[in-house]
Point group: C2
Chain length 316, copies 2
């Protein structure tokens, strides 16, 4: 299978590239290195069947060139940061997540590429009354990131129907792992960095009771491959996550413990969410994924522990 991975130099994209090469796929990676890193794909560069295309998804001609000849597009490229900061432009996600997705779909339509797997997000759901959240919950995103991903899903849904493109929309839980992005630091990496600076005290965004579902990057890749190999509808929407959740304060405790720190004082910025657009509590209903035949081996706390271990072992 000839695969194109957009955002293939990212934390998940580069692991996916390695997994696809491992099973014998030809892999082209398209990345603009805005949040992806060269070091993530360095081990792959000389492998047979691997190709790097440096370029931006907002440049339609580049996308057309990259898509041409592919049999499946794994569309992972996006502004990875869910947090909106008041200094940022409000159309960052619209451009990098929605318009980029349109460019991918349009290039696929033109080139006759008929399969797309899309890295979506649990952020499309927004705040839900019913937990865990099933795939058919109504989506009410509260972040620009979630809105732009939902817009991407909507485009995929229409292109799938109109142009006969088979699609897998994968709504990720929080994915944690050993790799670190150029921008958009995640909670574990943030806690480690802060505790290295000041091992006595840790500032925690929100009230610490935010409670979310986590999955390791390794298990995420496994689930992605499984769903695309086994789900056979024209449009397949799956939550990818474990069955439970961990609080942010518990993550802080696990990080401190793994760093061998005792008596760290936790300070809280207060408020329900960690930042504007944060969904303070969510677990994903993974019944559909389970019925298809895949289950995470690690629960959320074990996934977090594993990621902490990997990040601490990582060379700086």
């Amino acid at each position: 299978m000839r695969a194109l991975i957009t955002g293939g130099a990212g934390c998940i994209g580069s692991d996916l590239a390695a997994a696809l090469l491992e099973r014998g796929d030809e892999v082209a990676v398209l990345d603009n290195f805005s949040s992806g890193r060269r070091e993530h794909i360095e081990p792959l560069i000389r492998q047979p069947g691997f190709r790097l295309i440096e370029g931006d998804l907002l440049d339609a001609a580049t996308v057309e060139r990259a898509v041409n000849g592919a049999e499946i597009v794994w569309h992972l490229a996006a502004n990875p940061d869910v947090k909106f900061t008041p200094e940022s432009p409000t159309d960052l996600d619209l451009k990098q997540n929605t318009l980029a997705t349109y460019n991918v779909l349009e290039a696929m339509r033109k080139a006759g590429v008929r399969r797309i797997a899309f890295a979506s997000t649990s952020a499309v759901y927004g705040i839900q009354e019913r937990l865990p959240i099933p795939e058919d919950a109504p989506c009410r995103p509260i972040s620009l990131y979630g809105a732009a991903k939902l817009a991407g899903e909507a485009l995929i849904s229409a292109f799938s129907h109109l142009f006969g493109i088979q699609a897998w929309i994968l709504r990720f839980a929080n994915i944690v792992g050993p790799k670190v992005r150029k921008r958009g630091r995640t909670v574990i990496g943030d806690f480690i960095a802060r505790l290295k600076e000041n091992p006595q005290e840790l500032l925690i965004l929100g009230d610490g009771r935010q409670r979310k579902s986590y999955l390791t990057a390794a298990e995420c890749i496994e689930a992605m491959l499984f769903v695309v190999d086994h789900a056979r509808e024209p449009l397949n929407i799956y939550n990818l996550g474990g069955r439970d959740a961990v609080t942010v304060t518990r993550i802080a405790e696990l990080v401190a413990e793994a760093m061998g720190l005792e008596g760290v004082r936790f300070r809280y910025t207060g408020g329900e969410g960690g930042w504007p657009g944060d969904v303070p509590r969510f677990t994903l209903d993974v019944t559909r994924l389970g019925r298809l035949g895949w289950r995470a081996r690690l629960n959320s706390e074990e996934s977090v522990r594993e990621a902490i271990r990997q990040l601490l072992e990582r060379k700086p």
Copy 2:
């Protein structure tokens, strides 16, 4: 109340403008006259409190100027045509419905305008198993139009949460009335035009068994005003429609009957939907609207009859 209506020279927008002026609001209309018509707003131009701004929503500076000073934006502007024709660009709806909506929201955020009512569509739902469709059904649009409107809803949902903008998302059934657009002819207008050309035979897109929910423009305006006046959540999503549906063949019969034609032969292009992206059967669950206190007086067939009568009385 100082109101801005985008797409205010359209079939619904111009009636809304008249209704708002009637109740004493100041009304600015922003339109690029791509599908709106000057004749729709001519009766309003000299009324006190009315102002016309000719311009395009894709021009951010124009939008900012128009939004400034408004207390509510009625955002109706869009490419009105649900049909995708293979010759058209696939990003027409993305631009005119999604990016335009972003520009409106961003201008509102900058100007501190805190209320938006959005003309959305039942096309966001796509093909649903459960009929009638409630507002919390999962949205799987099958048209580029529906996808772009859903993307607009997603942006509104995020902006509403992040920037304290109160929003009313109104998902319209098929709206029928006496006015005619410059582009994107609706089924009734199409049948009348074809039967004027050839009173013996009528070509019907699809198998004629498409069955949809209709509401007159007059009742639609009434419902819009009612929902915005009475629904008080930060984000309010309402289906606007009647409770039942009419088949396309029945509409053809009603048009022929109203034109005094007998023995018209109906020919069908065949297939379930009338065109790629057509949702062949839908009725909207209007329980939420009913609970708020509004109910359509006309059922779908009566609405269609009324529109036929108005269109036939209309001067060419």
